[in-house]
Every structure is written in structure tokens, then in C-alpha cells.
Chain length 482, copies 2
């Protein structure tokens, strides 16, 4: 078997970082004067100490770079270990959460899923709300780095199509990969700042503006109120829709944009495809609502726009109880959640580029049916797509659909009803947040589910966030033999 | 554009054949003395005349064999035109069906779907019941021929993997393709006869035994009673389960078996996979029912066995109202319907061999992840699978899933609820028969749906039966340009 220490070393350092991040909610609680800060002091000490010990224990194995196996293990390991420590404040704090609930909340945070088991959010200590926002925000930037650096390297889910591209076209502007990561982070911080300012200007309190801007740009969906975004006015909702859309675009294009070239952003097939789909989903939902209400009220259009964008981008805020909008709206939102945003953003799910690649493949296939002796290869962004990328995309799609089916059945086995099982599996796997139906719908929480179902959903969030194959690969026998 | 006449000629001849087939229910009604026979006389005359005129009009274009485009058009054309004529007895007869209902019933028959818009089956004239059975029986043998000869030629849905195989291994036993078709038909007739004898022995009336044996071997699912198979005793239900399973196996293996070689049947990966899946589905459903009932009663096990086999094979009989069995049973049956039986049988849906091929592809891909420089090609039945077959299978899978999603949304747009929309789309596309929920569940009919929904389902049955791509291909621009 290969050396586990380099993996442990990096994970240890990241756990220490997470412990340091707990100083932020600690400071918030001190500032709020609610007496809740010792929870974060405790959590930070436990986390930092544990992380330090892990890193020390593995330190003499670190240094020489990571093998493929080690990289796989690191990717999954990070998203397994960090939630365990991120869960501590929910256990130690006023929420007094049991292990399963704390783990659910932390995993939902770090994977930017946004399903919650907590209610009475409006009365929670500010520090805990900040911690939920911070988990999503850190998870968001974490996943962009993983998606840009790790997944292409691991050749998982077709993400390798962005390897050459990101580093090639970026190479002309920015010489080094580390600088790319820095620039991406600046964009991430910058967008979050802009979003916070917009929310502030539209009437949010400074605290709400900061926390919600973090969960918006992470397409996370945690809110500070049980009412989610129906707690806010029209202006806030419009700004939120705009920033959710921006957060679902490829961040590398923003880097290029701020470096002075708007062209890559404007000519990106993913961006075109995503905005097109967003337009269609918003239009379908608006039309359905207008027909239903019998009038074209601003509130109707805004409700359709906000919730369509929220689900399509995988954010998961709700500004209305769309379970009351009928089966058509529910189905449109269900499938929108299975589409998702652009690769290289914080949004998850199957993603636009995979549908585009599958479509290109099928188009090439139909052309071949019509002219059996012609040569037709699928193209994307004007370039031919390698067989390997196409196979990866297909493996991802099949795995996603089959996992969704198996997970739905497994959930129903714990006693959940049909709609809760299917929509719960989908919302966890696609990291969207809310499900459908009376139990886990947009106005409900996941608190009432049984423990077995919660653990399954925790695993599903992890699977979905890491594009399935990165996790599945480590379950194969040959993986450990290599 | 290419010459349409050779297509019209074959379709015309098949319409004449369908008209001739109407003499069977005519004879049944005469024998029953119910005075309903003129309906079939009228229908037969209209059908035979129309078919004759079509064939005559196209006769001088016939002869030289079919091009690829013509073969595509013929395949879809047959399954569009024959139902239109097969619908006539429902329009002319006591059912006095409107166009949409008659077309629904006939399409459901010829595609062996088995969803019905008729109720009061127990009091229908014998001729009409015979006609429903005959539509499914003719549709069943028709689809085996299409699947064995046409689809491999059209290289649709990965069916080409059976081209070489069928003709190679068969070649050693039977020299000519026409003889293959004859042998397959003999098996089909033989199995139907055996099934009828079994039903007769188990207590069915001769008429019921004949009609139900036809709809069993066609995995069609039309029954002579609103109560479906709950109208019959345990012995009939066990026999039905056995014959449904047999009808979902590759018929070419039976040909080899009767020619003296059991080996191909016993060593077929599809057969192993299918029986394995059947075992798991039956076990899951039985376990769920035993837990539910708290006792291992014969009736419980039989109910689970019968309905699991009925849905997995895509037959669609019901011996119990399994909507009362809870969400787990509903989900297991829902996904079982999306698995289906073996290629080269009368059963439809995604089919076992496609899952096996997708699994082989993913296994090869995982192996490659673990050892990036190794060469791993997917294998099936011990042979490497060509890139082209794999792509076809994948295109099929993606098309199936996406069509299912779009169709669900479209159905909900006509006002159907969530479960009815999704399960209705699935049951039509997979040619299973019953849906889920209170509207189209196992004890209900499709009569209450609105016309728009019915037409969508008619199209979905056609799409599913012809493996989607055979139909989609003719909607492309390049198809007509070729
Ligand atoms: K989310
Ligand atoms: K059927």
C-alpha cells in the first residue's frame, strides 16, 4: 500500500486552518455580547490541537508531492474530516446537536448544499449563524480549487477538458498556477464584497449582508432566518438573483475579465448555455405562475425568477412556498436542480457542460446514422472532444442517475415517502438544498428525518460535491493495490 | 429526397395483413353469438382496402431492397400506421371510443405497453378482448423481428452488438436469415401454446387462457378483467410469473435450445444478469412485504413475486394493489420498470445488456484511473466491446433519461400531479403498462387523463418501443437531405 502520511499532513494543516477560522464566529459572539463565545474557543482549541497532532504525526512523510492515489484520498479525506471538526460548534453550542445532526449541518455547509436540520434560526447566537455562513464560504472556494486543480488531474467526470484550457489560455495572461489560485480567490472575495454591499444598500443589516453574501457567492443557501429570503424585500431578492447567476459562472472568466479581456467570458459556450437554460427555466416558471394567478404581477414574476435561479444555480434559498405552485412548477424546479451551473463555479449538480458534451456526442452519432461512411467527431467550443473526456462525462452521467435511483430506494427503505425519497436524494446529490413535498420542502427542515436517512444524505452530499467518481474510485480493490 | 414508395409498399402489405387478422375476432364474436361481429367485418374491409390501395400506389417503386433511410422510415412508419387501423374496432365497436382513446388503446396494444383506457372489460364482447390480445401478440413478434433484423442494421441503441452474434453463432445451426425468423416465430407460437395449456390446466376458461397467454408471451399486460390477475387463483399466478420470465429472455437462445444446444442459453450474460436482477427485486419486495405484514404467508410471497416479475419484465399485470404497499415497494417497482428484460425478447425499457455494458465501461474507466498507463477495454460476454456499440448504448441511455424528464414536465403541464406525470412518462416510455398513484396506478385506467396527455403517452410508447433513436433520427434535417 502507498504512503498515507503526505495525505494526513495536508489534512492536518487544513484542520488547523479550520480551527483558526473558528476565531471569526468567536469574535462575532464577543461583539454581540451573547456569552456564546466559549463554544467557539473550545471548538477552536480541540480542532487546532487535533489538526496539529495529525500534521505532526505525518510530517516526516510529507514533501515529495502527491501520487494519483494520494490525491484521490486527499480530496475525499478533506471533505470527510473537515465536516467532523466543523460540526463541533453545533454539538458544544446552544443547538446541542447530536452527532448525526451536527455532521449533517457541517457537511451541508462545506459541500455548499444548504439543507438544514436547525430551526429557530432567527434566535440563534450570531456566532453560530456566522459559522454556518463561513462553512459554506470556505467550502465554496475550496471546491473551485479542487475543480480547477485536482479533478482535472484525477481525470474525473470530464473535468479534464478544463485542464489544458484553463492553463493554456490563462498562461498567456498569468504565468503561474499559484497566481491563478490567488486571482480566483481575489475574485471570490471581491464578488462576496460586492454582494454584501448590494444587500446592505437594499436594506439588510450589516451582519445579515455579510453572512448572506457568503452563502450567495458559495451558491450555498444557508439563511439566517427560517423564512429564508421571504424575510427580505424585493430589492434584496433581485440582487440575490443577480449574484446567484454570477456565482454559477466559471470564475476563471472573471479573472480574465478583470485582467482586461471580456472576450473569453462573452464567448464561453458554458456561459451561453447556462444563461439560455436559466432564461427558459425562468420563463417556464413565470408563465406557469402568470397562468395560475391570472395576472402579470411584479411579485409573481419576481417569485418565479428568484426561485428558478435559486434552484438552477443550486443555491437553494426560497422566497416563497413553491410547493403551492402545482406539479408543473415542482417538476421544472426538480429537473432544474439536476442541471446546475457552470464547471469552475461553486455550483454543483450535473452541470451545463456535461449536457452540452452529451448533446454534441449524440449529434455526431445522428450524423453518422444518416451518413454511415462520414467521419463526425463531437466538438465543444469549436475543438474536437477526446474520446477519454467523453467517456468520463458519460460515466459521470450514468453514475449520477444510477446513484440517484439506488439512493431513492434506500431512503424509502427507512420509511420516507415517495416524493421525499426521490427529491431528498436529488437535492443532496446535486447539493441544491431544499427538497419537495411536505417533509423537506422549501419551508421545512431536514430535522424530522430518521438518523439512517440523515447519514445517507450526508454521504450523498459528499459524493455529489466530489463528482462521484473521485469518491467511488477509492472503494475499488485495485485502488489500494496500486 | 429518397424514394418513399418502397416504404409505402411494405406498410401497405402489413396493413392488409392486419385487416386479415381482424377475421380472428370476427370469428370469435360469431362463435360467441353476441352480434358484435359486423364491427370487425367493417374494420377488416376498411383496413384491407386501405392497405391494398397504399401497396398498389407504391408497387412500381418496390423491389430493389431498402436504403438505410428507407429502413428507418419503415420502422417508425409501421408502428404509426398499424395502430391507426388497429384502432378502428374500438371506434366502430360498443366501446365507441373517440380517436384519441382508440389510438391510445391500439398503440398500447401493438407496442405491448398494456396501459388501457377501457374499463368494464369483464362485460366487453369477446371479439374486442381477443382483438386487444391479438394486437399485443402481433406487436410482440413484430418487435422481435425488428430488434433482430432492423435495429442492428440501423445501429441503434447498441443493438448492433447482437448483429454479428445472432448471425454468426446462428449460422452454424441455421443457414439462412429467413429460417431464423421462422424458427423464432415457431418458438413464439410454441411458448404461447404452452402458456395457454398451463393457464387452462390451472383453471382459466379456454378463451381467457388463449387471450392471456398471448398477452403474457408478448409481455403485453392486457387482461380480460378490470381486476387483472387478481381475478385468478394462485396456480394461474405462479404459471404467469414463470412465463413472463421466459418471455423476457432472448428468443434466439430458445431456438438454439430446441436445436439441441442448451449451452448458449445457460451461458448468456444477459440471462444471468436478468435472472439475478429478478431475484433481487423479488427478494426486496418480499422482504418489505413480510416486514410489513409481520408474517411469511404464501399469499404475501406470491404477491411480491408476481408483481415484481410483472413490472420487471414490462408485462404490467397486477395481482394486488401495490400502491398500498408503501413508498419502498413503489420505488422498487418504479426502478424495476426502468430496468426491463433481455434484448431479443418482447420486453422493452432500458434492458439488462445496456446496464451491463455501461457497467463494463465504468469498470474499465475505474481501472484506468488507478493505473493511468494501462490499457483497459470494456468486455461483454468475454469479447471486447467496440467504441461504436458503447457510444450507441450511451446515447440511448442519455436520450432515455432526458426524454423521461422532458416528458414528465410536459405531462405535468397538462395538469397531472407529480407522481402521475413522472410514473406515466416512465411506464409509457418503458412500455410497462400501469403507473403509480391514484390516477394511473395498478387498479386504475388511463381513461381519466386529458387528451393532450394521452397523445403524449401515445408518442412515448412509440418512442420507447423503437428504442428512441430509430424515431428521433427521422426528425433530423440531414435525414431528409441524404
Ligand atoms: K446549495
Ligand atoms: K407491458
Amino acid at each position: 500500500m502507498f504512503d498515507l502520511r503526505p495525505v494526513g499532513y495536508v489534512i492536518g494543516l487544513l484542520v488547523v486552518t479550520l480551527g483558526a477560522a473558528m476565531l471569526v464566529p468567536l469574535a462575532v459572539d464577543v461583539w454581540a455580547g451573547n456569552g456564546h463565545w466559549p463554544v467557539f474557543a473550545q471548538s477552536a482549541i480541540v480542532t487546532a490541537l487535533a489538526g496539529g497532532l495529525i500534521a505532526l504525526a505525518c510530517a516526516n512523510g510529507a514533501g515529495a508531492g502527491l501520487s494519483l492515489q494520494q490525491t484521490f484520498l486527499l480530496t475525499t479525506g478533506v471533505w470527510l474530516v473537515l465536516p467532523a471538526f466543523g460540526a463541533l460548534p453545533f454539538v458544544f453550542g446552544v443547538t446541542e446537536a447530536r452527532a448525526v445532526d451536527a455532521m449533517f449541518e457541517a457537511m451541508s455547509g462545506l459541500t455548499t448544499t444548504g439543507s438544514t436540520v436547525l430551526s429557530g434560526l432567527d434566535t440563534l447566537p450570531a456566532g453560530l449563524l456566522m459559522w454556518r455562513g463561513l462553512l459554506q464560504w470556505l467550502g465554496g472556494i475550496g471546491i473551485i480549487v479542487v475543480a480547477m486543480v485536482f479533478l482535472p488531474e484525477l481525470r474525473v467526470g470530464g473535468m479534464q477538458i478544463f485542464r489544458a484550457e484553463a492553463f493554456d489560455t490563462m498562461g498567456k495572461i498569468l504565468p503561474r498556477a499559484a497566481e491563478i489560485a490567488t486571482r480566483i480567490s481575489s475574485i471570490y472575495v471581491g464578488l462576496t464584497g460586492l454582494c454584501a454591499l448590494a444587500y446592505l444598500g437594499a436594506g439588510m443589516t450589516p451582519f445579515d449582508a455579510v453572512v448572506h453574501s457568503m452563502t450567495t457567492i458559495a451558491t450555498g443557501g444557508f439563511a439566517n432566518s427560517d423564512a429564508s429570503f421571504s424575510a427580505f424585500g424585493p430589492a434584496v431578492q433581485y440582487w440575490a438573483a443577480l449574484f446567484m447567476l454570477l456565482a454559477a459562472l466559471p470564475f476563471v472568466r472573471f479573472v480574465q475579465f478583470t485582467a482586461g479581456t471580456a472576450r473569453p467570458l462573452l464567448r464561453d459556450s458554458q456561459v451561453h448555455g447556462f444563461l439560455g437554460v436559466a432564461g427558459v427555466v425562468v420563463l417556464l416558471l413565470t408563465a406557469a405562475q402568470v397562468v395560475r394567478e391570472g395576472a402579470l404581477a411584479e411579485e409573481t414574476v419576481r417569485g418565479a425568477l428568484f426561485n428558478a435561479v435559486s434552484i438552477l444555480t443550486g443555491t437553494g434559498y426560497a422566497s416563497a412556498d413553491y410547493m403551492q405552485w402545482g406539479a408543473f412548477a415542482a417538476l421544472v424546479l426538480f429537473f432544474a436542480g439536476l442541471i446546475g451551473g457552470c464547471a469552475g463555479s461553486t455550483s454543483c449538480s450535473i452541470k451545463i457542460f456535461r449536457y452540452q458534451l452529451l448533446l454534441a456526442s449524440i449529434r455526431a452519432r445522428l450524423a453518422r446514422i444518416n451518413a454511415p461512411h462520414g467521419v463526425f467527431e463531437p466538438r465543444y467550443q469549436g475543438r474536437p472532444v477526446s474520446e477519454e473526456v467523453m467517456n468520463s462525462v458519460i460515466a459521470f452521467f450514468v453514475f449520477f442517475v444510477v446513484t440517484l435511483g439506488v439512493l431513492s430506494v434506500a431512503l424509502s427503505m427507512t420509511g420516507l415517502d415517495f416524493v421525499t425519497s426521490v427529491s431528498g436524494a436529488a437535492t443532496a446529490l446535486a447539493n441544491v438544498g431544499p427538497g419537495l413535498g411536505g417533509e423537506i420542502g422549501p419551508t421545512e427542515t431536514f430535522a424530522g428525518l430518521n438518523d439512517a436517512a440523515k447519514w445517507m444524505l450526508v454521504f450523498a452530499m459528499l459524493l455529489g460535491r466530489l463528482e462521484l467518481l473521485a469518491v467511488y474510485a477509492i472503494f475499488t480493490v485495485t485502488f489500494w493495490r496500486a
